[in-house]
């Protein structure tokens, strides 16, 4: 690293963060399970296959339209298990609280966690609380870890992905990212946009129960759809081509993106899944998704292609083809 201090780019979901994780953590902790960099590790225990994951939540503001840090801390971890094909079961919750945090706010956050856990069918079975002096953290940070069981015969693997496969998203892109951005001071937008923050276990479980054609899944959080599709294709012998016009994006999300110079494909989601599905199964998967309230805007957005290898391309709404990359670090509104 040429940087001698950590900057916000190191956590922004772009190239810097990926390089930083690989160079520092993966090198230091190296083992075959971690090296896959998947959303959850799959552990083979006698008689059982477990999925195990952890995530920390540091969001500003801690309460935002459509959710708060507590709801997010449950959804994020549940979703990381669900996209690995696991049924989420148990969570841990670690809280770092800043001296002076409003107690009623903490209550709202914890109640939201409890409610979301019930909806997701998981139990928060262990936890920890630390309070640090004022100024040493920003109100509240939460870490959750989660475990789930992977049913026998679950065939999800990036190795199965092949040209011709369909790429499906479960709903509109960018709602969470924009809801949080527009709640942040300094931008002063009024929108009806709410975070899509939701546990996906039920939606994904429903698809997996019925359709054997699903090959790979991710939830497009930081870095958005662009980061997920880049991860899918990086270093692989195939490419990805999506049709911009087919990607569902709310009109108000589009409008704010135009104004601030953002790409909706770079914005975070917290209640959406991207699936790679055998071509012949795509219609069926879409149908199942659309019957679920969290999947009613599901859409087929593109295909896995023969090439160019390792590259994600977008056919724009006027017909040209361009490349799609991870966002360059922290998303900054631009006027130019």
């Amino acid at each position: 690293m040429s940087d001698s201090v950590v900057t916000l780019n190191h956590g922004a979901g772009g190239e810097t963060m990926r390089g930083f994780i690989k160079q520092l953590f993966i090198e230091s902790f190296a083992n075959p399970l971690l090296d896959t960099l998947a959303d959850a590790a799959l552990l083979n225990l006698p008689g059982t296959r477990l999925a195990f994951t952890t995530d920390s939540y540091v969001i500003k503001p801690v309460e935002f339209p459509g959710g708060n840090i507590g709801k997010l801390a449950v959804c994020g971890t549940v979703n990381d298990l669900a996209v690995m094909g696991a049924k989420p079961l148990y969570l841990s919750a670690g809280f770092i609280l800043e001296e002076g945090l409003d107690y009623s706010r903490l209550e709202r956050i914890v109640r939201a966690m409890a409610k979301t856990a019930r909806e997701a069918g998981v139990e928060i079975v262990t936890g920890d609380t630390k309070v640090v002096p004022r100024g040493e953290c920003d109100g509240i940070f939460i870490n959750t870890a989660g475990i789930g069981v992977v049913p026998q015969g679950n065939g999800l693997s990036p190795l199965l992905v092949a040209p011709g496969d369909a790429i499906i998203v479960s709903g509109t892109m960018g709602d969470h990212g924009l809801a949080v951005l527009s709640a942040r001071e300094g931008l002063s937008f009024q929108t009806q946009i709410e975070s899509d923050c939701a546990p996906l276990g039920d939606l994904i479980g429903g698809v997996l129960k019925i359709s054997p054609g699903v090959k790979w899944m991710r939830d497009p959080t930081r870095g958005g759809l662009a980061a997920v599709l880049t991860e899918l294709s990086e270093g692989q012998p195939f490419g990805v081509l999506i049709q911009e016009a087919a990607v569902p994006v709310r009109e108000d999300v589009k409008a704010v993106c135009e104004l601030l110079g953002f790409d909706p494909l770079h914005l975070a989601n917290e209640g959406k899944v991207v699936m790679v599905v055998e071509e012949s199964a795509a219609g069926g998967v879409l149908e199942i998704l659309k019957t679920h309230p969290l999947g009613k805007n599901a859409a087929l957005i593109g295909q896995v292609t023969e090439g160019p290898a390792g590259v994600v391309r977008v056919q724009t709404e006027v017909g040209g083809v361009r490349r799609l990359q991870r966002p360059a670090g922290e998303l900054l509104p631009r006027i130019c």
Binding site: Q190, T191, R250, D252, V253, A255, V256, L259, C336
Partner: protein, 73 residues
């Protein structure tokens, strides 16, 4: 340079107005466009309305493209 998009002026007072696009709203300064009326599209750049969009002209131009298509087909 100069990212600016058309937004509809919903209401205004002397200096400021509220503009809207696709359901997203924001307050903007109208210092540079004192003539802007409620219902106009204004071109918004960095929190200021830069100019009033001539909607009739915009639609007239689009009509020309349509005719272009019919002539060519």
């Amino acid at each position: 340079m100069c990212l600016a998009i058309p937004m509809k002026l919903l209401e205004r007072d002397e200096q400021r107005g509220t503009v809207e696009s696709g359901g997203a709203k924001r307050d903007v300064m109208l210092t540079l466009t004192p003539q802007a009326k409620t219902g106009d599209y204004v071109i918004v750049h960095a929190g200021y309305a830069l100019e009033v969009l001539d909607e009739a002209e915009a639609l007239r131009t689009l009509e020309l493209f349509r005719e272009l298509g019919e002539a060519g087909e």
